[in-house]
């Protein structure tokens, strides 16, 4: 191999690929060949580098120069200016308050992050076993297999304080110990890569960006519990993750890192990939086991727990991708090192998928115990478009919403739970003051209604009923007592459902009632949506002082309810308006406003109609 002088790392995570990263990579190959310098430059496709919002992003070593929003048209300039003349292209660098940031480690987004699970993601070539080994890969496995016995390995994990990253936060060592202690001819380890939460992509990024780490983590778990066989359960929508894990398994086998008598010990291990159909409930461990066995992915009552009767009736540990990803580093750097990060009950770091109305959306890893304020305003860069922060939804579709008053709450399992939210798998959706919380609750409830497996009535029927009430409230048909009914239903569903889906699905509703009750009340009593989101609880109004009488709105109104003239200006016949918003979109001088609440004409008309109806009935 000839000597390279530049490592060009192109992020090929899902965000950057959808922004065109692969085209850019192809263009680099072309331009480098044209200029005759292909042999000097190493092009590496990495997993997600984190700041997906800036995608496509790339990092160029040895200097570590960070470019964002690169397009195929920029490639020629990067090659001739940066690669040939040694002059990095400033306009592709990040600007922070008039300062140009050239190198990756100075990008503010990374400042508060501590990367353990994500250490190699976006830094190594995920398809190269050697690059993983270069970062210390498989050393933990070799050391554990030759120097520890399973019980000692479990003790290390116990001392580290690692808890499951898949949602529940169950201490990893307890689950392991149970399976370790059971006598059985066969035990299994399963890696849960189902990741059904909308908007979440941390497990996918880990599988795509550093597959060998997950495989090594799985083998460390397998050795500790006495399993000789592992399964990766990954949803079919993640083809690249599936491909990378399969490739990693092949590479590990070929290199003698998997198979019989690994590192000369008595430990033998083999792993396989199974794809899931992509139903949210299949991420639940009992449903997942059913699905792996080729049956319908329905949850089953617990006990028996998988620790005693899991896959094909054998003792089984199900661990989340990120949980496994932490293991190699815990064994390499020590339990105390890991336990020194985080809070009293929540150790280490957590990966979050930050989304919503913030500047830096993407994949981040921060120490547990960081405050929501730091996470949203420092790592996330604060709100976009000059809007104010309103709420943050944590823990996936069945997580809870927290508000302004919780910004200084430390992010750990207990603190979040106490306040009605949860860690979940790490989806964080930040919302600005333009969001209607009743609508938000309705959205998540709808997701859970669709994803309920239907096995138990509280979840199947109860959630549907809750959704119906929310539907009424947001369309202006709310009644006194609706809020109490939602609470009663929610609490019942939580108590009576069989699996975690039903047990937590009412959370978005319960937490928004807890913190945004006034919004529910305004929807019900005043028939007004202050955020002007719910179309049935607002009206459009033309401000005559701004209207220039151009008649555009009248021409675009699908129901012809706008009339007027150039002199008189235009008005809306409110009773006929269907609130499509066309008029507002076309008005050239922005004279049309959305106004919370129903228009007085409509209220009057409705009352009269009701009275008339009453008289007729008499």
């Amino acid at each position: 191999m000839s000597l390279k002088r530049i490592d060009l790392l192109i992020c090929c995570g899902s965000g950057c690929v959808s922004a065109g990263a692969l085209k850019i990579k192809d263009r680099f190959h072309e331009v480098l060949a044209e200029k005759g310098i292909s042999t000097e430059i190493n092009i590496i496709e990495t997993g997600c580098m984190g700041p997906c919002d800036y995608g496509p992003v790339m990092v160029i070593y040895p200097e570590g120069i960070f470019y964002k929003h690169v397009t195929p048209e920029d490639v020629e300039e990067i090659v001739s200016e940066h690669f040939i003349k040694g002059r990095p292209v400033q306009r592709l660098m990040l600007q922070d308050e008039d300062k140009v940031i050239s190198v990756q480690k100075e990008v503010p987004f990374y400042q508060k992050q501590v990367k353990v699970a994500l250490a190699n993601c976006g830094y190594i070539d995920p398809e190269s076993l050697d690059e993983y080994i270069a970062t210390g890969g498989y050393e933990a496995l070799g050391t554990v297999l030759t120097e520890l016995d399973p019980q000692k390995a479990i003790d290390v994990v116990k001392q580290s304080g690692l808890r499951g990253r898949g949602g529940g936060g169950f201490p990893t060592h307890i689950k392991w110990q149970l399976v370790h202690d059971v006598q059985a001819d066969q035990k299994y380890i399963i890696c849960n890569g189902d990741e059904g939460d909308p908007g979440a992509f941390m497990d996918r990024s880990l599988l795509e960006g550093d597959p060998h780490r997950i495989l090594e983590g799985m083998m460390l778990a397998a050795f500790s519990i006495g399993a000789s066989k592992g399964f990766f359960y990954i949803r079919a929508e993640y083809p690249l993750a599936i491909k990378r894990i399969k490739q990693a398994i092949e590479q590990a086998k070929e290199a003698g890192l998997m198979g019989d008598k690994i590192f000369g010990s008595d430990f033998c291990f083999d792993a396989e990939v199974r794809t899931g159909a992509g139903a949210f409930v299949c991420g639940e461990e009992m449903a997942l086991i059913q699905s792996l066995q080729g049956e319908r992915g329905n949850p089953t009552p617990k006990p028996p727990y998988p620790a005693t009767k899991g896959l094909w009736g054998k003792p089984t540990v199900v661990n989340n991708v990120e949980t496994l990803a932490n293991l190699p580093t815990i064994f390499l750097k020590g339990a105390d090192w890991f336990a020194s990060m985080g809070t009293a009950t929540s150790k280490g770091t957590k990966v979050f998928a930050l989304t919503g109305d913030i500047k830096n959306t993407g994949l981040v890893e921060v120490p547990m115990g960081i405050t929501l304020r730091e996470l949203i305003f420092e790592v996330g860069g604060g709100m976009t478009g000059g809007h104010k922060f309103k709420a943050v939804q944590l823990g996936g579709p069945s997580g809870g919403c927290l508000t302004q008053e919780h910004l200084d709450v430390p992010v750990d399992y207990e603190s979040l739970k106490e306040r009605g939210a949860m860690m979940g798998s790490g989806g964080v959706i930040v919302m600005n003051d333009q969001k209607c919380m009743v609508n938000v609750a309705k959205f998540f409830t709808e997701f859970c209604v669709d994803e309920s497996c239907g096995k138990c009535p509280p979840c199947r029927i109860g959630l549907k009923h809750m959704h119906g009430i929310l539907e009424r409230i947001t369309s202006g048909q709310g009644k006194e007592g609706d809020i109490e009914e939602l609470q009663r239903l929610g609490e019942t569903i939580c108590k009576l459902s069989l699996c975690g889906l039903g047990q937590s699905a009412p959370n978005p509703v319960l937490s928004t009632i807890r913190y945004f009750r006034d919004e529910y009340e305004a929807h019900i009593r005043d028939r007004a949506c202050q955020t002007k989101v719910c179309p049935d609880l607002l009206h459009f109004n033309i401000d005559k002082s701004r209207c220039i009488g151009c008649s555009l709105c009248a021409r675009k109104c699908p129901v012809n309810c706008i009339s007027g003239s150039r002199e008189e200006k235009y008005t809306i016949a409110q009773i006929d308006c269907i609130k499509c918003g066309n008029c507002q979109d076309v008005c050239p001088v922005k004279a049309i406003d959305r106004v919370p609440g129903l228009h007085e004409d409509v209220v009057k008309h409705t009352e009269e109609a009701l009275q008339k109806l009453g008289r007729e009935e008499e």
């Binding site: 191999m1 000839s2 000597l3 390279k4 002088r5 530049i6 490592d7 790392l9 000097e40 190493n42 070593y61 040895p62 200097e63 570590g64 690669f83 040939i84 003349k85 040694g86 002059r87 830094y123 190594i124 050697d130 690059e131 080994i133 270069a134 210390g136 498989y138 050393e139 070799g142 050391t143 030759t146 290199a255 003698g256 890192l257 590192f263 000369g264």
Partner: protein, 121 residues
């Protein structure tokens, strides 16, 4: 792979292949690639460095480039930066001189004073 020692061997080799990403390098060679440097043959100089270094399997050396260095009368200009030592700048370089610098300075640790145009930071 049977033992941790085998793994370590692979790791050391792989770390060398990844040295551009912040690994241990003993010497950094920085070739000035300003417009005048390129006109005077800086690319040839860089290419020769790359060839010589890979032919000799020198794994702890890194070649990189920089823009105009403001020494246009002495182009092509090359800096050799060695951990814990003063920077050495060679001027008026050509492929033959590069070969000599690689053998003398990089392999044997003797500065080729005839080509030096500046030292220090």
């Amino acid at each position: 792979m049977k033992t941790l020692a085998d793994l370590k061997k692979i790791r050391e080799k792989a770390q060398e292949d990844m040295k551009l990403r912040g690994g241990n390098v003993r010497i950094k060679i920085v070739v000035g690639m300003g417009t005048s440097g390129i006109a005077m043959g800086a690319r040839e100089v860089m290419k020769t460095f790359l060839e010589e270094i890979s032919n000799r399997n020198l794994t702890d050396v890194l070649v990189t480039q920089t823009g105009e260095k403001g020494l246009s009368s002495m182009e092509p200009v090359v800096d050799l930066i060695e951990e814990g030592k003063a920077k050495v700048t060679y001027g008026n370089m050509n492929p033959d001189k590069v070969k000599k610098v690689v053998v003398e300075h990089i392999v044997n640790g003797r500065v080729v004073s005839d080509y030096v145009v500046a030292t220090g930071d």
